[in-house]
Amino acid sequence: MAMVEFKDVQKYFGDFHALKDINLKVDSGETVVVIGPSGSGKSTLIRTINGLESIQSGQLIVNGYDLASKKTNLNLIRKDVGMVFQHFNLYANKTILENIMLAPRIVLHRDEKENKQIANELLEKVGLTSQANKFPAQLSGGQQQRAAIARSLAMKPKCLLFDEPTSALDPEMIGDVLNVMKDIARDSDMTMIVVTHEMGFAREVANRVVFMADGQILEDDSSDVFFKGEPKNERAKRFLSNIIAH
């Protein structure tokens, strides 16, 4: 079953054509990595999936909801589709534990005791048990990102979107965050769509690699084909060889 399906989607920012003729289908449980040069529309693409960006034409179905329709209640989609941001976006006025517990409490009306138990389990999973009562500003970038992942997981989403989750981190922080993401990809049947430059992560856990440039999807391969074989597209080939060379 398709979790996310784009059909001929167009997205404009004013006159700027940000997404051109996007056709993409992501099945439930798949892990898809989206790569491409900056400004290619990767972030815009995944931000349309939970309605942070609207689309101007075409069809976009997420978890059975039609995102092109104005009648669709985006909050219903967002209950099942979490997002992890480049700059974490943790609630600055709440502790880490409260960050994780807030949405399940007021959106899902989860029982308080159960909520706390789930939150503590997630904190342990991402290795932040000792930081539970600190505020986001007191944590390092890597810790904040792991807390943000825990916050998304607390909603028990069917699909998780990652928007360059490691781009704002110091190099030595990246490994811990990627390990948490790999665990999720391996241990759960959650659909993951990840915008990243981390080729190691893509090679290890992605089922598919999507290459974007200038607002278009130029290449959409299984990761085996992408990394072992040669991408068919010239631009993708160049991009890949530039990254691998370093």
Binding site: L52, G82, F85, N93, L102, A103, I106
Partner: protein, 212 residues
């Protein structure tokens, strides 16, 4: 000054009480209404923003005295008989709420946009995000300018003197013309205003300190 207090203490205290009462009522309502319009101005819904903008620009750009006179003169003539105190307090609420709305709106805008995005992506509605995430942070930012607005509000309550609101300034005017000691009278009045505004300003600073 002591003589004024001895001879007119009762009247001064009554005026003092009215000024405090008017200020408290106006402060509470102006804060609620002002914050309400600040939130409306920050919604993604265009017509709500237009309404909020119109309200703020209207009451921010008309002199307080004119608004008050409208309620003191025009409303009793056509609608409802209201006292000078009520007319003055309503005028003060409308006028102050426009400035408070501007202040709170600036606070909401100074909260990083990622906070709202994070909250919406997390499944919160716009109103939930405002209530739990944006407003608590916004109020922390705007506490100092909000304190200024509160102090202005207390001082502006002297507009009641023009519409027989029996406030501190009104009593001061009466006493000054009765005793013919204008200087001492207005000094007494000034001291009584300070008794309200100085603790208020101190308290706002304390709050600011505690929240930072």
């Amino acid at each position: 000054m002591i003589e004024i207090f001895q001879n007119y203490g009762d009247a001064l205290l009554r005026g003092f009480g009215e000024t405090i009462l008017c200020s408290i009522i106006a402060l509470i309502f102006a804060l609620i209404i002002g914050s309400g319009f600040a939130i409306l101005e920050s919604t993604p819904i265009r017509w709500l923003r237009i309404i909020a903008r119109a309200y703020i620009e209207l009451f921010r750009n008309i002199p307080l005295l004119v608004i008050t006179m409208f309620f003191y003169v025009v409303i009793p003539m056509y609608v409802l008989d209201i006292s000078g105190f009520v007319a003055g307090t309503i005028g003060l609420i409308l006028y102050s709420s426009a400035f408070i709305a501007e202040t709170v709106r600036a606070g909401i805008q100074s909260v990083d946009t990622g906070q709202m995005e994070g909250a919406r992506a997390n499944g919160l509605t716009f109103w939930q995000a405002m209530r739990y995430i944006i407003l608590p942070q916004a109020f922390r930012y705007v506490l100092p300018p909000l304190g200024n607005q509160f102090i202005n509000l207390v001082k502006n309550s002297s507009v009641l003197a023009f519409v027989a609101g029996f406030d501190l300034m009104y009593q001061g005017n009466v006493i000054a013309s009765d005793s013919l000691q204008s200087m001492s009278t207005y000094m007494c009045v000034g001291v009584l205003y300070l008794i309200i505004t100085l603790p208020l300003s101190y308290y706002m600073r304390y709050l600011e300190h505690r929240l930072s």
